[in-house]
């Protein structure tokens, strides 16, 4: 089906990211179709892809380390003085077999109005620039007329229409893409893009227009037949038209619901697989276990602290007494001696002596009556105790000191301290054990990504709910469709009876039947065409994929369903798409892209960033050898890193054989037109620019 060969001819980049003023040329040779741009990381490979994408669609396709930084070259912006304007532009020339066919240019003008360095987000500039700038965008699209003249427009709407006519944005993903990101190519949202894109470029729009035409004719003839049959038939026809429109509307709604349901089913399946890997129940149980273990740990910790505090309190309470034990004994002896000497009274209270004198009887039972000497001694003592304040303090001393002397001595204190320490050690061991358990459980929990689990669980709930809603909606719509279809059948019968009354109406009916037949035949053709395209893509993908991968015998077949979803079926009839290795997925994507391009009516050029980054060893060589052969005459541009392009690696550890580099492989096949190097030219410590230099062999 390939008709036109389109090729990038020239790319002129000015003040776009690391490029100040660079002209890049691409191969126009139908045999040596490959152009190589080699550069280190951040040399500006992705910026070349982004420049093309920005020129065509006004936005960059791949954002990574440059995210947040504006599109205009920073040095150029810094040089712009108040009142001056800096132009950032990308001009792309695309040729067909007759020479330049399209010239597309996008310009961004940044005018400095003041010196403000405060940053602002600027949509046109694609990032943050000084707020002193204002920006404007302008575009030019020129295409060559059949007579060789050029048709030029700077109108935005026309620009967009023209770009979308020759390279729809959905198709651009098969033209400009990042090899390292191809393993995400088969996400369900891409299937829809692929389907739409293919239908747009595979000649189907012509068929679609014919179908629409015959549908319009059918309606027109029906109206005329009804009109020729009188007012009641016209009324019936109007009713029928309204119902038919409603039916179409409902069918469109159903199609959307079905697509949504398909996506929801797939999403739900993926989430269920994910949640099985990290069961939420087990996670919650572990969390509960952790809480309980933490409680135990805290309890043991509290006991240890309490025991330690008791030990310290016991030491402090006894510290002075033990260190001054001799002094206590000494003071006690002095007080005792003073008592003997009569300097201090014995430790008795005056009210106690008063009581003895009153009762005239000693506490031992001896009667004091007649014992005047004893009575006098007691009276004298009572007076001394009553009148001497020192007696009180001396007595307090005698009591306190004797108590202090009687408190536990060294041996008992040591035993008590040992006991407290033993308990403390026991609980410390229990604490350590509890802590180990806590850490073990935390480690186990770390294997779970809590945020992810919660997200999956929430997403799964939402998806299930949405799915159930969509199924309900589908059922409602289906029954509505059945009702409308039944009404339409009745109306048609009624109308048929009403319109077969006059010869004029019979004639219009015949024409209407013819239009209906044409419409239905074209619809069948369309379906057949779509099915053929799909089958061809399927066969071609399978053929290329099986050639490219090492373990091709494991794959039985490739299947592509009506929604352009792909399956890789193995000998056991299992779909392996989600378990393919990164390199295999990349091959599948490349095979698929190569196959799709065969069914389009235009042979688009192809630019791949890091095409071999995700593949290693022999498979890498095979990709370099085989892929271009499936894309004959397709202009291919590879943006590669030095390692990816030139590295030769040992085939295996035991042999000294080396796998040739990509460069050697491509050179051997004589497919390389020219090689260029992206050179970082460091101007100052803070700034640099990228130059493009041809590598001469």
């Amino acid at each position: 089906m390939v008709g036109t060969n389109l090729r990038f001819k020239e790319l002129h980049i000015q003040n776009f990211r690391p490029y100040e003023d660079v002209k890049i040329e691409f191969s126009q040779d139908p045999k040596k179709t490959i152009t190589i741009f080699e550069g280190t990381n951040s040399a500006g490979k992705t910026s070349i892809m982004n420049a093309i994408h920005w020129c065509l669609y006004g936005e960059e396709q791949f954002l990574n380390e440059g995210e947040g930084k504006p599109i205009p070259n920073q040095r150029a912006l810094n040089r712009t003085k108040v009142g001056q304007t800096t132009e950032t532009s990308v001009k792309l020339v695309i040729s067909d077999d007759k020479g330049p066919k399209y010239q597309i240019k996008r310009m961004l003008h940044a005018t400095r109005n003041n010196d403000s360095k405060e940053k602002k987000n600027d949509n046109d500039a694609g990032g943050q620039i000084d707020s002193g700038f204002t920006t404007t965008i302008s575009i030019i699209f020129s295409d060559r007329n059949p007579n060789g003249s050029w048709d030029t427009t700077d109108d935005e709407a026309r620009f967009k229409a023209k770009v979308n006519k020759f390279l729809p944005q959905t198709i651009s993903e098969f033209v400009i893409f990042n090899g390292e990101m191809l393993d995400t190519f088969f996400r369900s949202e891409n299937a829809e893009k692929i389907r739409t894109g293919i239908e747009r470029v595979s000649g189907l729009p012509v068929t679609d227009r014919s179908i629409q035409h015959w549908n319009d004719m059918f309606r027109q003839y029906s109206k005329k037949a009804a009109h020729a049959s009188g007012a009641s038939a016209s009324l019936l026809e109007e009713k029928l038209e309204t119902k038919s429109k409603k039916l179409d509307e409902k069918k469109r709604e159903i199609a959307v619901f079905k697509r949504n349901l398909d996506e929801l089913n797939e999403h739900q399946k993926q989430l269920e697989i994910e949640i099985e890997k990290h069961p939420i129940k087990a996670f919650e149980l572990l969390q509960e276990q952790l809480e309980s273990e933490k409680r135990h740990q805290k309890e043991y910790d509290d006991v240890v602290l309490k025991l330690k505090k008791s030990r310290v309190d016991y030491i402090i309470d006894n510290f002075g007494r033990i260190l001054l034990y001799d002094s206590i004994g000494y003071a006690y002896d002095i007080l005792k001696e003073s008592e003997i000497k009569g300097e201090t009274p014995p430790p008795v209270m005056d009210f106690f002596l008063e009581d003895i004198l009153k009762k005239n009887e000693c506490m031992c039972g001896t009667k004091l009556k007649g014992n005047q000497e004893a009575i006098d001694a007691l009276i004298s003592l009572k007076e001394r105790v009553a009148n001497s304040k020192i007696a009180q303090i001396a007595n307090e001393g005698k009591e306190t000191l004797v108590n202090m002397k009687e408190l536990p001595v060294s041996q008992i204190i040591r035993e008590k301290l040992d006991l407290l320490r033993k308990d403390e050690n026991r609980y410390s061991a229990a604490f350590r054990e509890a802590k180990e358990k806590v850490n073990g459980t935390i480690e186990k929990l770390q294997e779970y990504d809590e945020k992810k689990i919660r997200q999956i669980a929430t997403s799964l709930d939402k998806i299930r709910q949405k799915r159930s809603d969509v199924i309900d909606e589908l059922e409602i719509n289906n029954s509505q469709i059945l009702a409308i279809e039944s009404e339409i059948t009745d109306l048609k019968k009624e109308l048929k009876g009403a319109t077969e009354t006059t010869s004029a109406s019979k004639q219009w009916n015949q024409k209407r039947n013819l239009a209906e037949k044409a419409h239905s035949t074209l619809n069948q053709v369309r379906e057949k065409l779509l099915s053929e395209i799909r089958e061809r893509v399927q066969q071609k993908t399978e053929e290329i994929f099986k050639k490219l991968i090492t373990r091709h015998w494991q794959v039985d077949r490739i299947e592509i369903d009506e929604n352009y979803k792909i399956r890789v079926i193995d000998k056991e009839e299992v779909d392996n798409l989600k378990t393919l290795a990164a390199g295999q997925t990349l091959y599948l994507a490349l095979s698929y892209i190569a196959a799709l391009r065969e069914v389009t009516d235009t042979n688009y050029p192809m630019i791949i960033d890091s095409p071999f980054g995700r593949i290693a060893g022999l498979e890498r060589v095979r990709a370099a050898e085989d892929l271009p052969s499936y894309l004959p005459e397709t202009q291919i541009t590879f943006l590669v890193t030095n390692t990816e392009y030139k590295a030769r690696v040992a085939q295996d550890l035991s042999s000294e054989k080396h796998i040739p580099s990509i460069k050697e492989t491509l050179q051997k096949n004589k497919r390389i037109w020219k090689e260029f190097e992206l050179v970082i030219d460091k101007i100052t410590e803070e700034s640099s620019r990228t130059l493009v230099k041809e590598i001469t062999v």
């Binding site: 402090i316 510290f319 001799d326 003071a331 001497s388 304040k389 204190i413």
Partner: protein, 141 residues
């Protein structure tokens, strides 16, 4: 005995530490790793005094800061100070009891001499409570 008849044993309202040691008292009382964390100033004072005594280090205060309320000394603590005074002033015997101010001053001097040892225990050990216990065990005969 007439000379003792009007006597009342009473410490002055506050015991003092040397101004330069105020920070040690504050630290020992307020930092969690200290064995005296949240304890009374009097407990730090008595422990220092005992240490000062056993290390034979009585050091007069250069700039007394009266900041330890004597009302919260327990009876035992009071008698530890009196015993120490009697022991260090054997010539006074029971007459020691007539001079509470001298008893307190004697205690302050020993506490002033001992606080540095307590500070060393705190500063030079990862676990000051453990170190205090080791020091204490040395005196358990």
């Amino acid at each position: 005995m007439s000379e003792i008849q009007d006597f009342e044993f009473k410490f002055k309202k506050y015991a003092s530490y040397d101004d330069e040691n105020g920070e040690i008292y504050r630290k020992l009382k307020s930092i969690q790793k200290s064995p005296f964390y949240q304890k009374e100033m009097t407990q730090i004072f008595i422990t220092s005094m005992a240490l000062g005594f056993v290390k034979d280090n009585s050091k007069p205060l250069k700039k007394p800061t009266p900041n330890i309320p004597t009302s919260i000394f327990t009876k035992q603590e009071k008698w530890l100070m009196i015993s120490l005074f009697m022991k260090t002033h054997p010539e006074l015997g029971v007459k020691s009891l007539f001079d509470p101010n001298a008893i307190l001053e004697n205690a302050e001097n020993y506490a002033n001499g001992g606080i540095k040892f307590l500070d060393n225990i705190y500063e030079e050990s990862e676990d000051p409570a453990e170190e205090l216990e080791n020091e204490f065990r040395k005196f358990l005969s």
